[in-house]
């Protein structure tokens, strides 16, 4: 890729001489009579655009497509030529948009047919174009500054698109010679200047346009090198839509664009809201979005040649989006698009749909019937991109799972940590807090359902400790106690309790199942059980009254799965409770498993203790007893013993 290729700078030079005011002789009916009102009214006579109007609207369309697809680093300078050159904008990025150009063109207005043709010439514009190509752009300046001593690497190339009405082939040659000479002169000037750059390469695209029905006095000529710096090509084009088509082809060539037609887009009919018909929309974008087709020479894509176009469009089928699910696709490229027919109803339906934040997957039509999703249309902040999705076999297929590698057997990373305990003790809860608490509860329900081990410590317990469902029973009890202790704080606290109670009260079938499960547990291998249980659960789930809750907690379901990355992984030994232990009294540790309640209480105590300064007495106390009037002893000259251990002597 080269930033500073010819397409970095484009100069439009549009002829504004009197003859451009001539009609293009292609009529436009603008007074289309609406039904029911046609009786006795003669429609107004059709009007026709001038050569000038055709030139301006075609070049604006060129710019529209270019700005849509390359909003940055591709710059246009617009020059209008009559008795002098009128430069309508500059290379600065602020000047690079359609509105600016339209406003400037309106200020120029159409050519004056009564002006003296002798004073007017396209040459003024061409000279100004060369001059403007020597001017440095912000991007060139920035790159030169950045490269310092390598500043000469920054190229200065450009393209002049000149739309005029030439008199003959020799007239065209005269124009080319003029550009050639001007470049020569200006390069000399630029060599001695800090603000100007010499032109390394200039592509001159001369478009001779003439009214429909007339014979062209100028012949087409493919690109030809006139000098090492200048190449030139001549297009002789009838005005009207022919000129627009030509510029559309040129913008595709100049900016390496390609065309994709989205087919089978279902749209509601305006008249019959209940029916929908399928439409096609053609989009332009950088040709790299077709890299897979171009290289593999896929011929069965059903590409159809557009009328008058120089290359084919690739057809991709719309796949009706299922949901708005957020997924990270493997995307090898994203390219801005521009609709070919921006204002048509199908185009604007499609773009509005996308601008509202929906994404659409696109499928390659295949003869075999297999479905290959190769692209995605998606908007990001008001810009629509065509994403290229990888559709070939992955070289990373069947990778070793993360659970098989280093650290994969460790299960207590505490990725889903219970936020309830820290939240419920607050005096007031936000909606988010309540949601978090509910989430946690659902999570626990889910863990229980899957018979996941609770992350509690077994240190100090003899034997196997309580059975798993017994653990859960204890946990639920403690959780209820904790939440109940805070329900008087607010109505939101109450809601957390309600949720907890709803989840706790289990239907009798489940209790029944639990018992059966326990029996089986004794017989079956641990890992086998987990799988079977899970499968059983699936059918059971449907009738289960927790269903609604579980559905709401779908995300949590996924979360719970993550901790179970390796379902058969051993419970890590030596598990310890969630909180840092430094604040807990050491006695607790030897007492066997720390209960949920005790470590939550500890946490609350720790939190509370931060809110006030501890009494000096309590700090120095032994068994919550502090000796008073210690200083008296010192004054009495009595020996003080070690703090806290003082005893009456």
């Amino acid at each position: 890729m080269k930033i500073f290729s010819e397409s970095h700078k484009t100069v439009f030079v549009v002829d504004h001489c009197p003859y451009m005011a001539e009609s293009c002789r292609q009529h436009v009916e603008f007074d289309m009579l609406v039904k029911n009102r046609t009786q006795g009214i003669i429609p107004l006579a059709p009007i026709s655009k001038s050569l000038w109007t055709c030139s301006v609207e075609s070049s604006m369309e060129y710019c529209r497509i270019m700005y849509d697809i390359f909003p940055f680093r591709k710059l246009v300078n617009f020059i209008v030529s009559d008795s002098g050159a009128h430069v309508l904008n500059s290379w600065t990025q602020e000047d690079q948009n359609l509105q600016e150009l339209m406003a400037a063109l309106a200020a120029v207005g159409p050519p004056n047919p009564r002006a003296d043709p002798e004073c007017c010439s396209i040459l003024h514009g061409l000279v100004a174009a060369v001059e403007t190509l020597c001017k440095i752009t912000e991007y060139q300046h920035e790159a030169r500054t950045l490269l310092m001593e390598n500043a000469e690497r920054v190229g200065n190339r450009g393209r002049i698109i000149c739309i005029t009405n030439a008199k003959s082939d020799s007239h065209v040659r005269m124009l080319e010679d003029c550009v050639q000479e001007t470049i020569h002169e200006h390069n000399k000037l630029a060599a001695n200047s800090d603000h100007l750059m010499q032109i390394q390469k200039c592509e001159l695209v001369l478009i001779h346009t003439y009214p429909v029905g007339e014979d062209s006095l100028v012949s087409d000529r493919p690109k030809k090198e006139l000098s090492p710096v200048l190449t030139s090509e001549v297009h002789s084009v009838r005005a009207g839509r022919h000129l627009a088509t030509k510029l559309n082809i040129l913008v595709q060539q100049h900016f390496d664009l390609a065309s994709t037609t989205i087919t089978n887009i279902p749209m509601k009919e305006e008249q019959h809201a209940n029916t929908s018909a399928n439409y096609d929309v053609e989009l332009l974008h950088h040709k790299d979005a077709h890299v897979d087709f171009l290289k593999s020479g896929d011929t069965h894509l059903g590409g159809s040649s557009r009328e008058g176009s120089f290359k084919e469009t690739i057809t991709l089928k719309w796949c009706t989006p299922r949901t708005n699910n957020i997924e990270l696709h493997y995307c090898t490229g994203a390219y801005r698009i521009s609709p070919v027919d921006v204002n048509s109803r199908p185009s604007s339906c499609l773009t509005n749909f996308l601008l509202n934040g929906r994404s659409v997957l696109l499928e390659q039509p295949r003869k075999s019937g297999s479905k290959v999703i190769s692209h995605m249309l998606s908007s990001h902040g008001g810009e629509i991109f065509l994403h290229v999705l990888s559709s070939s076999r992955s070289i990373l297929e069947d990778p070793p799972s993360i659970s098989e590698g280093c650290g994969g057997r460790v299960t207590d990373y505490r990725i889903t940590v219970v936020p309830l305990a820290s939240v419920i003790v607050k005096e007031s809860l936000t909606e988010e807090d309540v949601l978090n608490c509910q989430k946690t509860i659902y999570n626990l329900v889910d863990m229980e359902r899957k018979n996941d081990p609770l992350p509690i410590s077994t240190v100090g317990t003899r034997g196997k400790g309580p059975k798993r469902d017994e653990q859960y029973r204890i946990m639920w009890n403690e959780l209820e106690t904790l939440v109940r202790a805070h329900i008087n704080n607010s109505e939101k606290h109450q809601r957390v309790l309600e949720c907890l109670m709803a989840c706790r009260s289990k239907p009798p079938e489940e209790e029944e199942r639990k018992k059966r499960g326990r029996k089986r547990e004794d017989k079956e291998d641990k890992s086998e059980k987990t799988v079977k249980d899970y499968e059983q659960e699936k059918s059971w789930q449907d009738s289960e009254r927790l269903k609604g809750i579980l559905e709401r907690g779908k995300e949590e379901l996924a979360e719970a799965e993550i901790i179970k990355d390796s379902p058969d992984s051993p419970e890590p030994p030596n598990k310890k409770p969630l909180v840092e232990m430094d604040d807990t009294p050491p006695v607790e540790k030897s007492k066997g498993p720390v209960s949920l309640l005790s470590f939550w209480s500890n946490r609350i105590n720790t939190a509370n203790s931060r809110k006030h300064q501890e009494f000096a007495g309590r700090l120095n106390s032994v068994n919550n007893r502090a000796e008073l009037y210690q200083h008296l002893k010192e004054e009495n000259g009595m020996e003080t013993t070690e703090n806290g251990k003082a005893s009456r002597q």
Partner: protein, 559 residues
């Protein structure tokens, strides 16, 4: 990067190599020896590489399709027969087909061509292919450059002197040139013997098959990782910045962002990030392999645009994990028999934590790959419920994703005055809106097709017939048409529409609101004035406003 080994099995490969000692070696034995070494290296250090084996003479055959089973490849090496003459072009065409069928045109492949430098004779010989290169049509295009990103490594079972004695070396160099310079020629240094073949293949391994090791860092948490496949150097702009960029071996996580916000970004390549156990102690940057418990709060550390130019995205790793030494992860009574793998599995690893956290939170981690170069780490599940930590590389540059803005301006939420995600996490600062709207988002006027113009005129007419209820929309559409007509110098249209409005005025039914006639006449008059082109009335920014009538106060449509 899949590999295709293309092995020459023409008769010239059976030429004996003079060796001291009793056994007689042929060149193909040397080649097989070198390839064995390559396969062994891959089997141990580059396991995930897919390799295919093609043999060729005047015909070619796919001996082993792409596989990670190096035993199969090894076996195939010992089952090769000898055939006729060398015909390289058809073999290269074969490679094109095989690769494209399997991987398409976008995945880079390495082609290892093993030959003795005898390039065949007559039609189909490389000399013949090169001589006719300029006369090719689209249908019989020379297979180089390969129609996929590629490296062509030519392993010559010959030394430099031998190749230089004919034009072989020149021809092979031409091949590399034709592949846009992507590739390299290896020759045997010194006499043809097993040792020198080994050293030649050793060079290939060093160049193309050494695993890429890096250290993944997030705050004080680290993990040694292998990144597979190896990230390739990337050239941003061959003209102004021709030096290929290489990614850091220190991969520093600089922030976290929601999957919805990063929104399927385009990437240069993607890679598995596999934790490796280099040494047990270093796994967590803490001695003793201490376990780390973490309170994951990636959501508290999301990137947000804080609009401070030059403000670096602060290392956000710290809020993610709070270190807390608890236990060693291995109990005392663990038997020593545990294999190294099992032990490694039980030592907590940051990669696993990161992977799980990203998966649970639905986020990706932004990682710094080099100066102004970023990538993302995320959890990727393949179809078989296996999950992995992956890294994708963005294009180098200050703003790889337009919808995130400049990477340097992202920062922690806490830096923002207000939480850009809202207190209830119900909004997002992303995507950023572009300064200028694109044409499809701004209701541009295009009249290239007559239908475009007709639709715009119809809109005005429709609203004209519903005056005064539609006064505002009527003037809005009228002004839109007026602006475009002025810009395009299409003054005849203004006159035409003015005539049309005047006609509408005469067609108004008796029941029409009196204001309708006033507005139509006024609008027609204004258009006519604009169509004169005199600056007073034809100003682009001038808007035709509704005529203030005695009725308009109550009848004007409220917007």
């Amino acid at each position: 990067m899949p590999t295709v080994v293309v092995m020459d099995v023409s008769l010239s490969m059976t030429r004996p190599v003079s060796l001291e000692g009793s056994e007689e070696y042929q060149r193909k034995h040397l080649a097989a020896h070198g390839l064995t070494m390559l396969f062994e290296h891959m089997a141990t250090n580059y396991k995930l590489e897919f390799t295919a084996l093609v043999v060729f003479s005047s015909l070619w055959e796919l001996m082993v399709p792409f596989t990670r089973d190096y035993n199969t490849l090894q076996e195939a090496l010992s089952n090769m027969d000898d055939y006729d003459k060398t015909c390289l072009e058809s073999a290269l065409v074969g490679v094109c087909n095989i690769v494209q069928q399997e991987w398409g045109g976008a995945i880079p492949c390495q082609v290892v061509l093993v030959t003795d430098g005898c390039l065949g004779i007559g039609r189909g010989s490389l000399r013949h292919s090169l001589a006719t290169h300029s006369q090719r049509s689209e249908n019989n295009r020379f297979p180089l450059p390969f129609p996929f990103p590629s490296k062509l490594y030519i392993m010559c079972m010959a030394n430099l002197e031998e190749l230089q004695s004919t034009d072989s070396l020149d021809c092979l160099e031409r091949l590399i040139d034709l592949n846009n310079g992507e590739g390299q020629i290896f020759t045997i240094d010194g006499p043809l013997c097993l040792k020198n073949v080994q050293s030649m293949f050793g060079k290939l391994i060093d160049l193309a098959y050494t695993p890429f090791h890096a250290v993944l860092k997030c705050g004080h948490l680290t993990a040694d990782v292998q990144v597979f496949p190896r990230p390739e150097p990337f050239v941003v702009d061959e003209e102004i910045d021709p030096v290929p960029k290489v990614i850091n071996t220190d991969l520093e996580i600089v922030g976290f962002i929601d999957i919805a916000d990063i929104s399927s970004p385009p990437v240069l390549s993607r890679h598995l990030v596999l934790p490796i156990a280099l040494n047990k102690d270093g796994a967590w940057g803490q001695p003793g392999g201490a376990a780390v418990k973490c309170t994951h709060s990636a959501s508290a550390a999301r990137g947000s645009p804080v609009g401070i130019p030059g403000a670096d995205m602060a290392p956000l790793g710290k809020p993610c994990c709070e270190g807390d030494e608890v236990g060693t992860g291995i109990t005392d009574d663990n038997e020593d028999e545990n294999s190294a793998n099992q032990i490694a599995g039980k030592i907590p690893n940051f990669c696993v934590l990161l992977h799980g956290s990203l998966k649970v939170e639905g986020m990706v981690a932004i990682v710094q790959l080099g100066p102004e170069w970023h990538g993302m780490l995320y959890s990727q599940a393949d179809s078989k419920k296996k999950s992995n930590l992956m890294m994708s590389l963005f294009e180098p540059g200050p703003e790889p994703l337009p919808w995130l803005g400049k990477m340097a301006q992202l920062g922690p939420i806490s830096d923002a005055k207000e939480n850009p995600y809202g207190e209830d996490d119900n909004k997002s600062p992303f995507p950023l809106q572009p300064k200028n709207k694109r044409s499809y988002a701004q209701n541009v006027t295009v009249w290239i097709k007559p239908s475009g113009l007709q639709t715009d005129v119809q809109k005005i007419l429709r609203n004209a017939r519903k005056l005064p209820e539609k006064t505002q929309t009527f003037y809005k559409e009228l002004n839109r048409l007026r602006k475009a007509a002025l810009a395009f110098g299409f003054l005849d249209l203004l006159k035409g529409v003015a005539d049309m409005l005047e006609r509408e005025c005469t067609l108004l039914p008796d029941t029409a609101h009196p204001d309708a006639a006033f507005q139509l006449t006024h609008a027609a008059q204004q258009l006519k004035l604009a169509s004169t082109g005199t600056s007073e009335y034809a100003g682009y920014d001038h808007n035709i406003t509704p005529l203030q009538t005695d009725f308009s106060g109550s009848s004007t449509e409220r917007m």
